[in-house]
């Protein structure tokens, strides 16, 4: 099925703007629980996402059946539906191509298709059990995606990507566990056995946790624990979120949000990163963008329409409806996690968080629950593991309180970190911890 032909059919049917994105996704999954494989999965999905504009009226749909009959029916249905939709007056079109694109590094590895996933899962389980754990649970996914983007404004670009995701949670008792995730585009440095070992080490350290106490603490977040919060910063940076009243970064352009040593960059060319892309959803060539530069918040993520509304230019972050980040990266520091712990007088080391929820996205008031190993630190030493605590604070305060980062920049994707990011360990000062009162 020729996607350009489909584009031309929509133009002939009277559409002003047409964006078609075809994705063919071959995925595999191995799910394991209690040290055994409980399910294998194979998924084959082929579809074209369709974005149409006529007279500033926007309709989106998709097509999965590429028969002539289905295509003709889709064009007819879309032409009928779009006629009576209301106009979006602040829609300003899609970027005009053609464009030249930079090459991405390490985004496709043909060996992904032929790896022995079962052996890798087995090695991870055994590495965890060798640490003294009793149970392991997790998932191993691979994806092989072909994509093709065309627009009515002379964009035509193809891409091939692979990715791997491995998650292992190791448990000794119900209250003693450790969780590690690893994600990659290629097999380079992809080591489930090491992930199994590390998750087992955390589980071992977290045996017999004591209930935590309410108060203000210095907190050290591992990369897995900080990743969801960095993702939240990224989502709040979308111009769409700001307009919708669900961003704590509204009105913060060129304002100081954090300390001078905090720089967050969006890097669509980071090698081996899950969201690396040379083009956005309009086909605009992507580029590195400083989101927070030495503590100063610099910009929202834009597409062509939101940029015009904010009297600026697109920064290649379409999202045709809502602009989005690519690879958000918090610049690392110089110290190891162990050294960061040594600098903490009274604090908590958190290795994972769960169920982050907001009282208000606009003010950034939220709480989240540390899960798996969480450790009380006193005078630079881990004293004992703790449980039943909640981080209760605001995102603006999280940003302000970021003091230092570890040297362990890690790509993280996970259950709570659905937006993959690159983050080191992060040390924050004086953050609220609450506990159940009954």
């Amino acid at each position: 099925m020729d996607i350009n032909q489909l584009k031309n059919k929509f133009i002939k049917a009277g559409m002003d703007d047409v964006v078609l994105a075809r994705q063919t996704n071959n995925s595999t999954q191995i799910k394991f629980a209690n040290n055994r494989v409980v399910k294998t999965g194979i998924e084959l999905i082929d579809q074209i996402s369709i974005f149409l504009v006529k007279d500033k009226k926007i309709l989106t749909t998709s097509i999965k059946d590429f028969s002539k009959q289905r295509i003709e029916k889709t064009i007819k249905t879309c032409s009928k539906l779009i006629k009576n939709l209301p106009r979006k007056e602040d829609y300003y079109g899609i970027a005009k191509g053609p464009f030249k694109y930079k090459k991405l590094k390490e985004t496709y590895d043909k060996k992904v298709d032929s790896i022995d996933q079962i052996d890798l899962v087995d090695s991870a389980i055994n590495a965890s059990l060798a640490e003294g754990t009793k149970r392991t649970n997790g998932i191993f996914e691979t994806h092989d995606v072909d994509s093709h983007l065309v627009t009515s404004n002379h964009v035509d670009i193809k891409d091939k990507q692979t990715s791997l995701y491995f998650s292992i949670r190791s448990l000794i008792e119900k209250d003693s566990s450790g969780h590690i995730t690893i994600s990659s585009r290629t097999l380079r440095n992809f080591n489930p056995g090491l992930a199994g070992k590390k998750s087992g080490e955390i589980a071992k350290l977290s045996l017999n946790p004591q209930p935590g106490k309410t108060g203000k603490y210095d907190l050290l977040f591992s990369p897995l624990a900080f990743a969801p919060l960095l993702g939240i910063i990224g989502e709040a940076s979308s111009a769409f979120s700001v307009d919708a009243g669900i961003s704590f970064l509204e009105g913060m352009i060129n304002k100081k949000v954090s300390n001078n040593n905090i720089t967050i960059i969006d890097d669509p060319y980071y090698p081996n990163a899950l969201r690396s892309t040379s083009f956005d959803a309009e086909g605009v060539p992507t580029r590195q963008l400083k989101l927070v530069d030495k503590g100063v918040f610099k910009t929202y993520f834009h597409n062509t329409s939101t940029a015009k509304k904010y009297k600026t230019n697109t920064n290649a972050h379409a999202g045709l409806i809502a602009p989005e980040p690519w690879n958000l990266k918090l610049n690392p520091g110089k110290l190891s996690t162990e050294k960061l712990i040594q600098n903490i007088k009274k604090g908590i080391y958190i290795t994972n968080i769960w169920y982050t929820r907001f009282t208000s996205y606009r003010t950034g008031e939220f709480s989240t629950i540390p899960r798996d190993g969480a450790f009380y630190i006193e005078n630079g030493e881990i004293k004992y593991p703790i449980k039943n605590i909640r981080v209760t604070d605001t995102m603006p305060n999280v940003l302000r309180s970021m003091q230092d980062m570890g040297n362990n920049l890690t790509q993280i994707r996970g259950w709570e970190a659905s937006l993959p990011v690159l983050t080191p360990s992060v040390f924050l000062k004086n953050i609220g911890i609450t506990t159940p009162t009954h």
Partner: protein, 470 residues
């Protein structure tokens, strides 16, 4: 996609040596409309269809999903899946399934106004009326995010045991995030409405009233709300709060696959175990059920996605754990029959143990009578932030529309009283249950890959004694 493709896929997998096969063709026809601050951002219309196949080969579970209608491509996907499943045999968990009665049935929810017959612009008009109503209050609302969604789901499930279930269920869903400003302060709340019904529900809901009530309540709390002093209170909560408490701290921990550790990596486990059937975990005023057969409920179905007939499950009876939520795999581990809790949200997702409509059964008091029985306390009508740990043991609820109670009367609004409590303490503190039952919609997340499942959570107002709030 033709139903015969699901039959074809089933036969093809059976011929390759599977001892059990399920093949489900599932289609969704949806309209999804986003309105942001009065502007329609996009209208989305989708028609998606695919086949998901689940099978056992030498007790190893395989799952394969495809959205292509070519028999050749279906065969290739199955072959690839079987190769992987055979490799997994050496470290498999041997899967058994309970024996269940075989049904060959079909059922539909017949809407009075079929979503498929109503144009998107008619649906947009409802959001526009809501927007107009918000603006007519003259309250400052810098963020007005309204979402409309309807979905007609058709399923065709066949199994190698001879089960055949066909269903058509329409659902209508409305969701908002409302931000209100008074002076320099803002307040925000999000809420969802959902039913398995036709578009006639929109008039019944009365979206303009829903939104103006919300905006006025947020504004009142900002203007007149006072913080509470941390301390012990008697505590009355409205049905919305009861519902989320039921969902998070009873429905979820009673999911048997969670108890057996199958979902430990992401959704977590449970503070309860299979030996706790018959254990008291709440006061004798508390009876909680899960019931998919409630007509027009958001979590409605009559047969689950393994072909098992659905029924009401009594999870907690008078404070005592009575029953867990089972699929065929978890039921057989306890020597039981499945109670029909297996659900999947689309063709490309495996069925796992899910809630449907989880509710505290009503008692005998009006809400006013519950409040009258409080000398000094807090009434939490609804909430904003909430969360719970992954064993479903310690939870938090932050109030939105809340009032101080003094001598049985509501005195003035209070600002965001917060409850952080353990599950046994919560359910043991209830001394009276109201009769003002309400069911509220949610989209519950579980599974990896994530499955967002339509559910109701519900109950009546309840009163708790001697609760620490801050």
């Amino acid at each position: 996609m033709d139903k015969s493709l699901a039959d074809f896929a089933l036969r093809y997998i059976e011929k390759r040596g599977a001892s059990y096969v399920e093949s489900k063709l599932e289609s969704h026809e949806t309209t999804h409309i986003l309105m942001k601050n009065g502007t329609i951002e996009a209208t989305n219309y989708e028609k998606s269809v695919g086949i998901g196949m689940r099978y056992l080969m030498n007790k190893t579970l395989g799952f394969v999903s495809i959205n292509e209608s070519s028999k050749e491509k279906i065969k290739q996907a199955i072959q690839k899946s079987i190769r992987l499943t055979k490799k997994a045999e050496k470290i498999k968990e041997p899967i058994d399934l309970s024996h269940e009665k075989i049904y060959r049935e079909s059922y539909k929810v017949k809407p009075r106004m079929n979503p498929l017959d109503i144009s998107p612009e008619e649906k947009i008009k409802v959001l526009q009326e809501g927007e107009k109503a918000i603006l007519s209050t003259k309250i400052k609302t810098p963020g007005r995010y309204l979402v409309y969604l309807d979905d007609v789901t058709k399923k065709y499930l066949v199994t190698s045991e001879g089960a055949k279930i066909e269903s058509t269920i329409p659902r209508v869903d409305f969701y908002y995030v409302m931000t209100v400003k008074e002076g320099s302060k803002t307040s925000q709340r999000y809420w969802q409405y959902g039913v398995a019904k036709g578009i006639e529900i929109l008039k019944e809901w009365n979206i303009p009233k829903i939104l103006t009530d919300e905006v006025k309540s947020l504004s009142l709390a900002l203007k007149k709300g006072k913080p509470i002093k941390s301390g012990k209170y008697d505590f009355v909560v409205g049905p919305q709060v009861t519902g989320i408490m039921v969902h998070e701290s009873v429905g979820h921990p009673y999911e048997a696959d969670r108890i057996f550790g199958r979902e430990a990596a992401q959704a977590g486990e449970s503070f309860i175990n299979t030996n706790m059937i018959g254990t008291r975990v709440g006061s004798d005023t508390v009876t909680i059920v899960d019931d998919p057969t409630l007509e027009n409920s958001f979590g409605y179905y009559l047969f689950d996605d393994e072909g098992v007939k659905a029924r009401r499950k009594v999870l907690m009876k008078n404070g005592i754990i009575t029953e867990l939520l089972h699929n065929r795999e978890t039921a057989v581990k306890m020597g039981l029959q499945s109670n029909g809790a297996a659900r999947s949200t689309d063709f490309d997702k495996e069925p796992i143990v899910r809630m449907s409509n989880t509710m505290l059964l009503p008692g005998k008091y009006t809400q006013e009578e519950l409040i009258e029985g409080v000398k000094e306390g807090i009434f939490m009508k609804n909430f904003t932030e909430w969360n719970i740990d992954d064993k479903r043991y310690q939870q938090k609820y932050v109030g939105s529309e809340c009032y101080l109670i003094k001598n049985g009367k509501l005195l003035y609004p209070v600002l965001k009283p917060t409850l952080e409590i353990t599950t046994p303490a919560l359910w043991s503190s209830i001394d009276a249950v109201g009769k003002d039952f309400e069911g509220h919609a949610g989209t519950c997340g579980k599974g990896e890959p994530l499955q967002a499942c339509p559910v109701w959570f519900g109950g009546a107002s309840i009163r708790l004694r001697g609760i620490n709030l801050r």
